[in-house]
Point group: C2
Chain length 303, copies 2
């Protein structure tokens, strides 16, 4: 066969259950573990942060809190954390480490409750970045300047960004579980996705997972991605879990997948064209996606 | 000043309240009325359809039902309509005209309930289009073949699409209010947006409005868009309503706006770049958006 034969764009239907071997060792790949926060096993090593944005919390918060080292609330996200708990006894067990934002939503009573219990309150009035980005700076500073009193000298306009830009970065790996980034007002959801792409370019040390009541949403990175989990039962009660590959960046994305129900080969995906939605996960403990550019993935959570 | 001076990209902050005159009569524009379904006044003339997809209903359904001529349910959307009502007395007042889909979600009891009350059940087993698209064909056929018994001869695999493609189209104008297209599993939300763009190209006679508990989402079309409403109080309880302009197609979009809080001039918007989110509506009874290509808009609803 001529080497010039163009690889054919196609869809291959797989059985409901397949086992995909890991990528060959000799080529670099991105290893992504989107369900560590649901695993029964303790999460050693990685830095893990729960970031709560302002919207009603409709997931099992407590098991997520237990998996994370610190909780950070963006402005009115603190109201949501406060309101989630029915009583003081449970509320005081899950205190945020930081509350950050312009505080146009934070209720005064919630602010003083958490302040009096030692939470660090960081007002940032600038309108040139949103509360989500302000929290990203705070989280990066937390790991970079650990065991210093860095937060005591923060300017209240845009001090977090200014301090972050003035220090050298050692790029600590952080797994960041974000609640309420997706599913509320649609412009906020899409801005979250925009920032998912942009943050990956600026800070690839951050692994973001947007958690909703329906799914987990994260970025697959240009190149080879090996997505793994102990078993599908970690995130799926019964049947096979749904998923999507969503080309929401500024380019079309050529995809090759191994371990989805409808695997694709040399498949060009783009908005206004073909988008793989309502696909599902066949891989028992993982699957592989090769993509010509960053692409958003979501996987259904049913437990 | 030289005619060659490039128009400058900029953001202009407006007062919270402005009145924008309509576009000049001599140039064509798209007139969009996204809040007719919330207006106190009756909606004469236009064909109005409520399409319910499968997800829990979290808005005031009854006032929306009253504004629409017919209700169409996509598969398990009928379960949601059924479950919305606490008793038979209210349930029987809002019956769907059609239930369409592959029926992998429709509960048998719900199917027989609605069937016995005269609703038209149209099974369509093809997996080459989703339940949303099957309903679009059904709605188009409803207006095209009114007062015939067209639905009695539909093939159960892909008959709706086949019938639609076999007849001439007179392109009836239809306002389509869609529930549960956005806000559930993220791949389904993004596929809905993809179809919003694609349907506008194929069937510009359909005006789609995705309704959520937070906002209404619709397409602004390439060219001049004049978006009007009786007053902001129709959709906003207090303060000024938030909005976003979301370039989710396959191109960047150059924007000029008149009547937003942060109006933009010659502003190039694109994913991975600048996206106007958390903007708001200053126009008392309307605003204008000129765009170099189709773009998604959302406007917050707080009443």
């Amino acid at each position: 066969m001529s080497e010039e034969v163009k690889l054919k764009e196609q869809v291959v239907e797989q059985p409901d259950s397949v086992t995909i071997p890991p990528p060959a060792d000799d080529a670099p790949y991105h290893h992504i573990e989107p369900f560590l926060h649901l695993s029964e096993q303790p999460l050693f090593g990685a830095n893990k942060v729960l970031l709560i944005l302002n919207q009603r919390i409709d997931i099992d918060l407590i098991s997520l809190c237990k998996k994370c080292d610190i909780i950070v609330c963006a402005d009115g996200g603190a109201n949501q954390l406060y309101d989630y708990f029915p009583d003081e006894q449970s509320r005081i067990r899950y205190l945020p480490c930081y509350i950050v934002g312009d505080f146009d939503s934070l209720r005064p009573q919630v602010k003083s409750y958490y302040e009096s219990r030692g939470c660090i309150i960081i007002p940032q009035s600038t309108q040139y970045s949103n509360d989500f980005m302000k929290c990203i700076y705070c989280i990066q500073l937390h790991y970079e300047l650990k065991n210093t009193h860095w937060h005591e000298m923060i300017d209240t306009v845009n001090g977090l960004a200014e301090l972050w830009e003035s220090i050298p970065h050692s790029n600590h790996e952080v797994k960041l579980y974000v609640l309420n980034a997706i599913g509320g007002r649609f412009d906020q959801s899409i801005q979250s996705i925009n920032q998912l792409y942009i943050l990956n370019q600026s800070y690839p040390n951050l692994s973001l997972f947007f958690i909703t009541a329906y799914d987990v949403i994260f970025l697959l990175k240009k190149g080879e991605n090996y997505v793994t989990y102990e078993s599908r039962s970690v995130f799926c009660k019964e049947g096979i879990p749904s998923c999507g590959l969503l080309p929401m960046g500024d380019k079309c994305v050529v995809l090759n997948t191994f371990g989805l129900k409808y695997d694709v080969r040399e498949w060009t995906s783009q908005m206004l064209g073909k988008v793989s939605s309502s696909n599902s996960i066949s891989g028992e403990d993982g699957f592989i996606v090769n993509c010509s550019d960053d692409i958003v993935m979501n996987i259904e959570i049913t437990k």
